[in-house]
């Protein structure tokens, strides 16, 4: 599990901008000491909403946490209206993230849509460790693409796929898999993860899952999934799981 326990704090929005029509990047300044690995998430509190919202962390350093989120409902819609300089109550350092040490020399990172963000800090850490990651970023169409350039600037080999072929490789992420890779990390919609699960048999990997959560820190059992090793909580035991423990049909 993660080393440090979560922290609650008040964070100031220092940058907030739209990356596409409905995907936003928010950079928050505050205590980031509870963040210990890529793939962890935060739980944000929004005025007028009872439950906190889990949002994956795209990147973090000693002073800031970067979130990239898509407006999908009332909560994220309210989040999108927040202004730079405003503050937000967050729980940080939640969940068990990606294991950088498992990667081998030529890991593959596969992100679909709003599943792309948590792979960014992972790619950064892999490159810092001297690995040579290939990153496949899958979107529906050209207007939805974000962060391809940012991954390239880190030094990763980037392949973009679009379902309609308006940019990059036409098709799904599984249509662009390199012939060889040492390990696969992925985050994205369930149909994509399942397709990748089938396509990447024989190579070990870690998948980050999404589930509607109650608390975000393991207390309520709201986000349980069944795995080969029994019941697991997406928020506390995950969101990143070894893909081998997932109880999915090939």
């Amino acid at each position: 599990m993660c080393g440090a326990s979560m922290k609650q704090g008040i964070y100031t929005i220092v940058e907030h901008k739209a990356l596409t029509k409905d995907v936003y990047r928010m950079v928050l300044a505050g205590d980031t000491s509870a963040m210990t690995m890529p793939g962890q998430f935060v739980e944000i509190s929004l005025p007028g909403f009872f439950l906190r919202r889990p949002i994956s962390v795209c990147d973090y350093d000693e002073k800031t946490i970067t979130l990239i989120y898509k407006v999908v409902g009332q909560g994220t819609d309210a989040m999108a209206k927040m202004k730079e300089g405003e503050t937000m109550d967050m729980l940080t350092g939640l969940g068990h993230g990606f294991g950088v040490e498992k990667s081998g020399d030529t890991p593959l990172l596969v992100g679909g849509g709003v599943g792309v963000p948590p792979l960014f800090n992972l790619a950064k850490k892999l490159i810092a460790a001297g690995k040579k990651p290939t990153v496949i970023l899958g979107f529906n169409r050209a207007e939805e693409i974000f962060y391809a350039r940012e991954f390239e600037e880190l030094g990763a080999s980037v392949i973009v796929t679009t379902v309609d072929g308006s940019e990059g490789v036409k098709g799904f992420v599984t249509d662009a898999l390199p012939p060889l890779f040492s390990f696969v990390y992925s985050c994205g919609p369930m149909p994509m993860l399942r397709a990748l699960y089938r396509a990447a048999q024989g190579t070990a990997g870690e998948f980050s899952l999404e589930e509607r959560m109650g608390c975000g820190f393991g207390a309520c059992m709201g986000c349980s999934i069944m795995t080969k090793e029994g019941s697991r909580r997406v928020c506390k035991d995950g969101p990143v799981f070894d893909k081998e423990v997932l109880e999915w049909q090939i």
Binding site: S5, F50, L51, C215, F217, A219, C220, M221, C223, S224
Partner: protein
Amino acid sequence: MADLKVTLSGLELDNPLIPASGTFGYGYEFAELYDINMLGSFSFKGTTLEPRFGSPTPRFAETPSCRINAVRMQNPGIDRVISEELPRLKKVFHKKVVANIGGFSVEEYAECCARIDKEEQVGIIEVNVSCPNVHNGCMSFGTDPLGVSAVTKAVKAVTTKPVYVKLSPNVTDIVPIAAAAAEAGADGISLINTLLGMRIDLRTRKPVIANRMGGFSGSAILPVALRMVYQVYEAVKLPIIGMGGVTSARDVVEMMLAGATAVEIGAANLVDPWACPKILADLPRVMEQYGITSLKDIIGGAH
């Protein structure tokens, strides 16, 4: 010096705060965050005879002041709770715990309670006859005086520890149900469990949670809980653990004035994991503000 001590059926608690079942797991998630020994006690995740995975997801929906959940009593089963969870808990929690027990038949309740009764760490057995999410399950017991009576009698026959029966608010009149528990030998009453609720997703035009209906809790239900604790206090001469929508020290005092000896805190833990220590820290201030020197003195004070 504010006196926070209360006594539940002979069990002395340093203060009346008890995190409610289903919002505190088996304690360790919170023990990572603060010393949970500051609590009066806590009520562990509703446990049944057999392991249960519970409901499919999604299990949660919400309104601005409440959550709706249908976990449907996911738990590892009583034997693993005894062999694994309690020994682990013992390392971080040195007080008596409230054992929350669910079931699907009178025999199952009795068997489960008989097994947990042997555990030294258990101070009180809280028999949940009111989970709203299990079809033909425990809520059918909790909405019928005969069912409550049968479960209570069966459990009392096989246990030595105080038995508190946790009642459902989803009834026309709570009084005959509480009276049935009392007549059957209950040592106390816990109330209220969640109210049955629903939300519908406008995009899918279907209920948000997989179980369709779920238990509605959070600050919105405080007035319902206060009213029912007040009614039961008048009708039944048993100690009450009051709960439902408690999120502040003021709410704790209000619940005790209605008739509660101890107060469980539920949904608030899921939104703010430090909710209980914050309420505890604020209690002496609220007591001073309203001229309360000992919490024992205000139990049922509104009557």
